[in-house]
Amino acid sequence: MSREGWLNIAVLLALVAVPGWALVADEPFTITLATRAVILALAAAGLNIALGVGGLVSLGHAVFFGLGGYAMGILAFHAQSYAPMEFFGVSVPGTKAMPVIWLVALVVSGLAAFFIGLLALRTSGVYFIMITLAFGQMFYFFSISWAAYGGEDGVSIYVRNGFPGLNTLVPIQFYGLCLVVLLAVLALTAALMRSPFGLALNAARQAPERVRAVGLDPVRLRLAAFTLSGAVTGLAGALFADLNRFVSPSMFSWQLSGEFIVFIILGGTARLFGPVIGAAIFVLMEHWLGQLSEYWHIWFGLLLLAVTLWGQGGVIGLLTGRAKAHD
């Protein structure tokens, strides 16, 4: 097996072992941190489908994260206040059941990604980066002033939503649930990268003219990837909102979109486990550096800079000694 393969196994073990240790040592906050890392990794894994394989640098993925978050926030808000939503005279009750919320989050953010992609994919390169950013800003400003769901104050959910057969209030159980979702998405991504679709998408990134010349439409390939990618990030948003029991417009902020990109590159672009390692490092840094110095952003910035300038291939590249995943 390749060194990257061993590294991935090590990461998998850590994902099980660290929270396991925390459970035994009664360090519930470590589990919370790990949950946060896993959910952020899931969001970035979603982006990785578009960015890593498809080469679509989206600086607006927080849109889908936020939509997933609000899907959870709105459904749970109506459930906890026993006031059904009214859609053109039809009233729909809210829900506190995660499976239903997840489904809604997937569909809503997937649809949003589809329509945003439809417009944004007319552009490419820098213009694509910027148009996705613009959509992010639209959602951000809209949510800030959307008084029905708290505007900038967001929506608080008092009790975490439920999953059949689990007590999600127990940190380790919620963590396990998130981990399973993450692993499922990673497995899907791994399959995707090798599939005919992945082959075509990957080629569309490198030589779009060639892809057209063999009779495939690069834009449709990208749109499919973008939609899938948005849906996964949306699911992560729903989980994140559940972790915090809170959703607010800051889930739409462009800094968050930037952070997703940071996770991917920090871990290693187009690597299956890149987002996982990147998110884990980010969460740890935030936690430790934040304690060390009020000015911890300087140190974090320097680290990022070092990784970008000298650590091509991210942390995985450094550890496995291969600069590019595509080599």
Binding site: T123, V126, M130, G301
Partner: protein
């Protein structure tokens, strides 16, 4: 709404567009000409404003403050070009986004570390303060008129520099093929440091001029950075003319949107709700404009490259 008020609002829109152009000009220069996405451009804007405020406070002279802004931002620009940016030219946009994102963090917290967390004082110089009366009885602050003049002059100078001078031609040639322009005997490295410093100086100047009207504080660069990006993307990346047209469009859309959209909703909504809805829409207006322009023209109004 009276015609004078409408005229005044149009003027406000134009003026906010020109202020945006001051920022966008440096960005498009670096971004378009050198092919580099510089998210840290907003930080250079902030550096300019802080240098201006600090110099003005120390010397009591606004003019020296402007000089300080130019010098400080240019120096910061040259420094980061030599230390960081230089390694990014050949890289894809992703690396550039990340590295300059990191620079934002370093600059913001670094500035806070140096200057503290409180906003600094920087005010309109007495010679330029107060309003003047324009034809049709429009009262308009002199300082803002000065900004319009400065912006237009700068636009003209940049058109000339990039479009007409040999320096400009070589810079653009370097954007197409760095290795080749060097093989023709042009010291492209030095040229790029120069251009980056120039772009940074423009950002710094914008920070000082616009900062005079605003709050000089950490983080002031990011909102205007995003607006400036919107501007140059609408105009077409790398085009100074595009930046100017884009800036005016964004300025007008932003200003007129915030004035007229609430009025529009008042036609069929209670006033309080109408202003809320109208201004919510107004805050999204420029992004909607940008999306519309790009859907219509995927490389912006005057852009050719991606």
């Amino acid at each position: 709404m009276s015609p004078t008020l409408i005229a005044e609002q149009v003027l406000n829109g134009l003026q906010s567009g020109i202020m945006l152009f001051l920022m966008a000009a440096g960005l498009t220069l670096i971004f378009g000409v050198m092919g580099l996405i510089n998210l840290a451009h907003g930080s250079l804007y902030m550096v300019g404003a802080f240098c201006a405020a600090a110099t003005a406070a120390a010397t009591g002279s606004y003019a020296l403050g402007l000089v300080g802004a130019l010098a400080g931002a240019a120096a910061a620009g040259a420094l980061i070009e030599l230390a960081v940016i230089r390694r990014l030219y050949g890289r894809d946009h992703l690396d550039q986004v990340l590295a300059t994102f990191a620079l934002i963090l370093i600059f913001s917290e670094g500035t806070r570390w140096l200057f503290g967390s409180f906003p600094l004082y920087l005010d309109v110089p007495p010679a330029l303060s107060g309003p003047v009366t324009l034809p049709f009885g429009i009262q308009y602050p002199l300082y803002r008129l000065t900004l319009i003049g400065a912006g237009l002059a700068l636009a003209a100078a940049l058109f000339w520099l990039i479009g007409r001078t040999r320096l400009g031609i070589r810079i653009r040639a370097g954007e197409n093929d760095r290795e080749m322009i060097a093989a023709l005997g042009v010291n492209i490295d030095a040229l790029y440091t120069l251009v980056f410093a120039l772009g940074a100086a423009l950002a710094g100047l914008a920070g000082a001029l616009v900062g005079t009207l605003q709050s000089v504080q950490v983080g002031m660069g990011e909102p205007v950075l995003i607006l400036a990006f919107v501007t140059i993307v609408i105009g077409g990346i790398g085009s100074i003319r595009g930046a100017l047209v884009g800036a005016l469009l964004v300025g007008l859309t932003g200003t007129l949107g915030s004035v007229f959209l609430p009025e529009f909703f008042k036609l069929f909504m209670p006033p309080s709700e109408a202003t809320q809805t109208g201004s919510a829409l107004a805050s999204m207006a420029i992004y909607i404009l940008m999306a519309a322009v790009l859907v219509w023209k995927p490389t912006g109004l005057y852009g050719v490259r991606t």
